[in-house]
């Protein structure tokens, strides 16, 4: 398999980006396609390891060496088949995944890892282009009805798997279109929405029913749903956003990232959006939170024409290299610079916001920060300490809060009497994804707390197996097998 000496011959390459000036003019994706030959060479870099740690690092268990080899040999259709065997939506992960596989890639021990994600994206895009991705409805239907609540990646994956097993699946989505965070969280410049739509078309053709604008727990009572369906899979996500309850938090101009991004995505889609318009145009923008959502806010702000964009991160600046205590193949906390960062944002680390300052109209005009340091006590969580005398005032007109999510909403849980942990994650183990209420399953962020899209798809797939087993006694649906690398 693969080219034995490929990794010695070729350097890592990924798709390049369009120049910043150009790309911030619109919300389109801005990666520049690679030639087939180059992609094959990238596939050739894969070493067909005796133990492919990538395959372990990937929460889906993607058969990475196998599809890399197919790409190297120019067998794109076979590659697509292998890829789809473990991943329902490679076009999403190929764009959005932070690629733990690449962090675990053996080549990554002392070289640049194989560009797995880029290969993945190209496989699935080629497959769509060539018309290989088609609806494949089940040959037989069982008489079982399954409700999937939430149409994010977990919900969609669970739905497709359960539908493949022959069950009649209805997906409930409270927003106007399916997709969850994919649609309303991820900006178009990272994934244009037709990518979701084209996949949804296939799901619909395969026979999955979507009911949008239906808020389970409010429009339909959860008990009712549970009674009407043979099984319910909750994939509602971890939607409760973390606040910053400091002085001035209610000023106009202090906005949750999700509100900002959701509105903009609807705007780009030509949809109406509720509430007041939030725009970064001609404003000094400060994004609080150095994660992916933060980045999305930065890129969106630039595209809206912000005067300046700064990004605050309360944690210290990580090194570009792996820290020693987070060795290969584990997922390291290291400095990640997104394409949005490169569009001109200034990043500040070890900084904590103390207070928002408003003008007399209640409009935000600045904020005050203090520098912090993390005191490490062995065996305990690091403790945050403010450094005296480092207070500083920053002028700004828009603050975007991108500090993550604290857990899931409890409406359904309360109606059904589901047990949850203190973080409001619904309790269910990965052994069977069962909640304490028979017939009710939970998967994705709603179970594990906020996480990555690959985890969501993975949970959806795994849960589907257990739902199927619950309904039928056994299941032909695939499981990913053992081998997930833990976080350390």
């Amino acid at each position: 398999m693969g080219k034995i000496t490929g990794f010695l011959e070729f350097d890592r390459k990924v798709e390049k980006y369009a120049p910043v000036d150009e790309r911030i003019q619109n919300y389109k994706e801005f990666t520049l396609p690679m030639k087939e030959k180059e992609l094959k060479n990238q596939g050739a870099r894969c070493m067909d390891c005796g133990i492919p740690f990538c395959h372990s690092g990937c929460p889906l268990g993607n058969l990475i060496p196998d599809f890399n080899d197919s790409v190297y040999r120019g067998k794109w259709e076979k590659a697509a088949e292998i890829l789809h065997a473990t991943n329902n939506f490679p076009e999403f992960t190929g764009r959005l995944c932070p690629a733990p596989c690449e962090e675990a890639c053996v080549l990554g021990i002392n070289e640049d890892p194989v560009s797995i994600e880029n290969i993945e994206k190209n496989i699935v895009e080629t497959a769509f282009q060539k018309g290989w991705v088609v609806a494949n409805p089940p040959e037989f239907r069982t008489d079982k009805k399954v409700a999937v609540v939430g149409s994010g990646p977990a919900g969609l994956a669970a739905a497709q798997q359960l539908n493949r097993a022959g069950h009649s699946v209805t997906v409930f989505e409270r927003d106007e279109k399916p997709g969850g965070l994919l649609r309303y969280g991820i900006p178009d410049f990272k994934m244009e929405k037709h990518v979701i739509d084209r996949r949804l078309e296939i799901l619909k053709e395969e026979g999955i029913e979507f009911q949008c604008g239906v808020h389970i727990g409010i429009d339909i009572k959860a008990e009712e749903l549970n009674n009407d369906y043979d099984a319910v899979v909750l994939c509602g996500g971890a939607t409760v956003r973390r606040n910053l309850p400091i002085k001035g938090a209610d000023l106009k101009g202090v906005v949750q990232a999700m509100d900002f991004l959701g509105q903009n995505n609807r705007r780009v889609d030509g949809l109406k959006y509720p509430g007041e318009e939030i725009k970064a145009t001609d404003k000094n923008v400060i994004v609080i939170g150095g994660g992916d959502t933060g980045s999305d806010c930065i890129g969106t702000s630039f595209r809206q024409g912000a005067t300046s964009v700064s990004n605050f991160e309360i944690m210290g600046k990580a090194t570009a290299e792996r820290p020693e205590d987070q060795p290969w193949p584990f997922w390291p906390m290291r400095l990640r610079t997104s394409s949005s960062h490169k569009e001109g944002a200034e990043r500040f680390f070890s900084i904590s916001t103390k207070e928002f300052i408003g003008d007399k109209n209640g409009n935000l005009k600045g904020l005050i920060t203090v520098n912090v340091e993390w005191e490490k006590i062995p065996g305990q969580r690091p403790v945050l300490k403010e450094i005296k005398g480092t207070e500083k005032e920053w002028p700004c007109e828009l603050v975007l809060l991108a500090m993550g999510f604290t857990g899931s909403e409890m409406t359904i849980a309360e109606q059904l009497g589901l047990e949850a942990d203190p973080r409001t994650n619904i309790k269910a183990s990965v052994k069977d994804y069962k909640t304490n209420v028979p017939g009710v399953f939970v998967a994705g962020d709603q179970r594990r707390g906020q996480s990555l899209i690959v985890w969501a798809i993975s949970e959806g797939r795994q849960a589907a197996y257990h739902v199927d087993t619950y309904l039928m006694g056994s299941s032909y649906l695939p499981l990913k097998g053992e081998g997930d690398l833990p976080r350390i």
Binding site: M1, I4, T5, F7, L8, M47, D48, C49, G50, I51, P52, F53, H55, S56, G57, G61, L63, P65, D66, E81, I82, H84, A85, N88, A104, V106, L107, I109, N110, E111, N136, P137, P138, E139, F140, R164, A165, G166, E206, E324, D325, P327, W328, P329, F330, Y476, L477, P478, L479, K480, G481, E482, G483, L485, P486
Partner: protein, 1501 residues
Amino acid sequence: MMKRQGLYLPEFEHDNCGAGFICSLKGKKSNDIIHKALEILDKLEHRGAVSADGKTGDGAGILIDIPHQFFLDECDFEIPKAGDYAVGNVFFPKKENQRDYCISVFEENIKKQGLQLLGWRNVPVNKAIPGRIAGETEPFVKQIFVGKENEDQKDFDFNLKLYIARKVTEHTLINSKLSESKFFYVPSLSTKIIIFKGLLMPNDIKLYFKDLMDARVVTRLALVHQRFSTNTFPTWDLAQPFRYMCHNGEINTLRGNVMRMRSREGLLKSKLFGEEIKNILPIILPGKSDSATMDMVVELLLMTGRSLPEVMMMLVPEAWEKNKEMSEAKRAFYEYNSCVMEPWDGPASIPFTDGSYIGAVLDRNGLRPSRYSVTKDGYVIMSSETGVVELAPENIEYHGRLEPGKMFLVDMEAGRIVNDEEIKEKIAKKYTYKKWLDTNLVHLKNIPYNDCPLFLNEASLEKRKAVFGYTLEDINTIILPMGQHAKEPIGSMGSDTPIAVLSERPQLLYNYFKQLFAQVTNPPLDGIREELITDISLTLGSDYNIFDITELSCRKLKIQNPVISKEDLDKIKNYDASPDYKVVSIPILYNIARGHNGLEEALENNLREAEKAIDKGANIIILSDRDSDKDKAPIPALLACSFVNSGLQRLGKRSKLSIIIESAEPREVHHFALLFGFGASAINPYLVNEIIAEQIEEHDITEYTFDEAIKNYNKAIGKGILKVMNKIGISTLNSYRGSQLFECIGINTKVVDKYFPNTPTRIQGIGLYEIEKEVSKRHKRAYQDQHIAANLDLEIGGEYRWRRDGEKHMFNPLSIAKLQKSVRNNEPDTYKEFAKMVNEQSKNLMTIRGLFEFSNYDPIPIEEVEPWTEIVKRFKTGAMSYGSISKEAHENLAIAMNRIGGKSNSGEGGEDADRFYKNQTGDWRNSAIKQVASGRFGVTSDYLTNAQEIQIKMAQGAKPGEGGQLPGPKVNPAIAKTRNSTPYVGLISPPPHHDIYSIEDLSQLIYDLKSANRKARINVKLVSEVGVGTVAAGVSKAKADVILISGFDGGTGASPLTSLKHAGLPWELGIAEAQQTLVLNDLRNRIVLECDGQLKTGRDVAIACLLGAEEFGFATAPLVASGCIMMRVCHLNTCPVGIATQNPELRKKFKGKPEHVVNYMYFVAEELREIMAQLGFRSVKEMVGQVQKLDRNAAIDHYKSAGIDLTPILHQIDVPKNTKLYNTQKQQHHIDDSIEFEIIEKAHPALFRKEKISLDFPIHNTDRAVGAIISNEISKIYGAEGLPENTLKLNFTGSAGQSFGAFATKGLTMVVNGNTNDYLGKGLSGAKLIIKVPDKSTLQPENNIITGNVTLYGATSGEAYINGKAGERFCVRNSGAHAVVEGIGDHGCEYMTGGVAVILGEVGRNFGAGMSGGIAYIFDEKKTFEKRCNMEALNLLAVEEDNDIKELRELIENHYNATLSPLAQRILENWEDSLPKFIKIFPEEYKQALIRLEREKLETI
């Protein structure tokens, strides 16, 4: 024989021996011959062995003419004239009452045959002679005298009746319920010869049997033998000689031969025997040794009217198949007889006699030494060694040796030696064999192809793949490379997946069987380099009565490669040109709905149908699993094949037909090997054919057409099978077929007894129910009622490369990540996580040790347990050569182990002398263990001198019975230097050690190495398999200091995938069996027992220790600690972490540090200490073998593992209280007796002051390895430099023992006036050896054998001048010595990688096989050379270049000056005429390497 207990199975005992005979050509009878013959044994004592009591030998005996006059005098009853009566010594029970019964039965049967009982004579014996152990089984010996029915009775008839009477008596008494029935045995009952033998030391025979000392006991001939048995439960009856033969070596093919003989019994018919024929069955009594068994068949064949030489030709044929020089008549004889009898093949020198003829044959490989001398006063002396009888040089007519496949025969009546050609041509022309073959034997390739049935109703290819359990890995990793490259796929890093019975995934039945392989007691073969002695063709059809010698016997179908295509199978199905061929197809399918009952019934049906087919005249049946569908599932082909095979055997009908398998199941070599091993004669893997078609369609296979790709695949399997056969030392598929050389692991006895009778299975396991369950699981998956979109059609596999959804592996991402983190950051807690994972994982049905739990806790404070620093002294790292791994990785391990006082292992690659000295920081890169493997790379006196332990690698877990290869491009100048070879010249490690073809050879090598370094322990590395305990007992008797038992799963730099998975057993079985057998024999305390094979944690060590190990080896785990991430690309040189690579760029990526390895060892030792504290052991010593602390973990429950029975592993041998279960005493090597100490005393001025001196000594064949001790002393002082040339000259007179000049170093010149035995100049390290014909001798040196086999094996430098001919394998693996010789046997210059060989006389066959370097010059006066040369990669050139001419002339001049060789003189005197007759042999690889080196030299300038 000891009874079966624990893991010990008596049937796996082996023996090897010393043998010889003397006879008077002039027919002169004397008592002196007996003494001379016994002197032979005396002089061969080093080839025998002694039991723990120090007195009981493994058996010895002598065969002589019947001393007629003596009996006339002695007997108190009347005796007719010589030849008209038979006499024999008979062994009886000790107890009189039982004895009387035996006598009465015997007498009765004699009368029944109409013969006359003349009388009995008590044989006078000295009861004080036998040792304690022998005394326990000492029989009462009486002589019986039997007369003819009447005077007119013909000799043949008389013999026949005697035979029947004896056979029937044997059967009756063996089946009787007498408590001492086993004592009854008839060593001989003959009109010509009589045998005296027993469980005696050779020099005790005549003291025990007083008759032999009587001057009136005279004879013309005497055949003697002494045994070296691996076991210590030898018995009196198994002492040799047997009635017609004795045997030095081992019959490898025995199991197949026995099975086939049994099935022939049904066809036996003879007018002479009439109805009596039934009463002599079984022909082969069970429980006898290989030699005894063969003797029984010889006896039967003699009764068919064949002569003794003809019988020997049938049983031990030459390698005729590929011999182009053989006469047509002889070829036809052999080919005809191959249809009648498969070869009884082995490393075997078989002296035989019927009193009229005395002679010997040698196996086709020539693996046993047999030398003979003919004296001017008319005596012929033959034995394993020369020099065993003192002969004056001037009395020698000539010295000869027995050549491979050849017969040496003395016609006693005619009083002359009959040469091989003469006797064989005569026999071959007795019938018109050639004509018979031409009209009867059909060759598959000549059958026309007419039409090809299509199987339209079959399920889709994808479905069938699933039914038969194909994984994507099977298709991509196994089948593809074979179709594409005609080669078996290669892998590395061993196996860490569960054995079949512990796997949660449905396994093919094949995976429950492990291939057996040869180690120590017989050699594996090299079918690649010695292809001409191998053959995989088979003949199909019915067998016939062996009493008839008619053309009917060869009316058969011959297939060259029995792995056949569908087209071939169609041809066979449709062949109807001859009414004698009838082919019947039997479906092997069962009704899936009926589950395991369905399977059982279907199997019974198969057998019934086969029987019916036979009754209707079929002679070929095809067992076919075509047409399986939703309702009918395939029966595992192996199950059906073996059941029909053994079932028909039981019914006595097996010989009437051949079985062809048409199955979708077999895909890898192992599968095919099993099917042949359990009786198939041809196999068509039709689904593989279809998969290959698909691969061509999808352009996975390019460059080949479908037919070619199928051919490639079949060829690859054929080659693979050859390798599997070679592993156990078998050269022809004809003898391998039906031999069942496998062990089951994880199948219960019920199934084995019924379906695979006589296959060892020791820990039980699954039954038919579970077998069916596995089939139905696959079937269900294939025919699942629901198709799930996007699922892969087939399972991923994951056997060879880890996959989440595939087979489990012990080393997986997490365990590796944790281990590396723990050692790098010195985190004991992280190690504990690792250990917990591995230990629990193994409990989770991964390994046998996982099934155990500790019990009988007796906790003590951990402080009382010996400290970790003591424990790690017992730890070793595995043998990994510099070459297979990088310098950085190799030295890292050495430094680490030296820091903690453990031992690292050099592996088979030599070691840079620079590493023998500590560096400034005190770190030491010297490997404490130096390995000596079959390639002998870098093994010099200096290398051995710098070892604390020397390990002889008999086998390697990942590929037991196989050699290795370091391809030329990997041999960079640094590696070439440490291996004493030429850069860029490929290096081959042969499958066998060419100086170990049997146990006594191992004993010799141990002696050699001990001589080369008296302080070093000698360690013998074995691989776990059934019978390894017996082998270990033998090795202990061969005086190894340490025995290492390796698990099959150990790592490797490169191995065929088949070997990686399917040969050898887990160490749990091996170590337990070794411990039990050694304790049982009271041999345990003599040796240290070591264990390795995927040891990872303290728990692993604890279990190994409780099972009997006291030292422990780790290889993969310390490598992982050093950064290995199990890429499994060691064989590709692309290791991305700089471990298993020589690529300088990749080597830079090595990040391991000695601390990492030290930390790992520390963690393991600490974990062990915790366990020790719980169990109550203060030291490892106390813990060894305490199996009562282990128990089966009751919590483990899985449908397959439930049937496993661990009690045989946990069997505690009953021993007296004070018996120690660990090493307490040192082996007695008897090195002190060497003449070298006397030499050293006199050689002081040379050794210490470098003064030139010359000394004279007599020498005998019992003086072995002379030169090694002196060289050791020189190396200690001067290192590899040695002394200046010719400083110490030693002149010897006589016959030197084996290994003369072994490892002899620079500055020594050693001269022998006389001759030498095998292994001359083994590992020569710079000395000069001169072997010349004594001055007084009248011999023509060039026609005279002067040295034995395997000369200059692994020599690295030095010179040898040999004034006469050498035996087989001259200059094998020479890498630097310059040698001149006057003629050589077969396989000359095999695997040679450097140096120069000048051969002035005739050259045997297969010259230069595997020769990759060095130069040979052949004086080809008779122009025979080209035919005998292995032309694969050699250039044959004229000697034209000035440098060559100069070098050649100089060497011949040296030879002349050293030996006064008349031949050399003639050549030199006629130099202008002689020169054009020389051929220069220049290996192509060597040529390319020299060109490359020249280029590199220019580049650096």
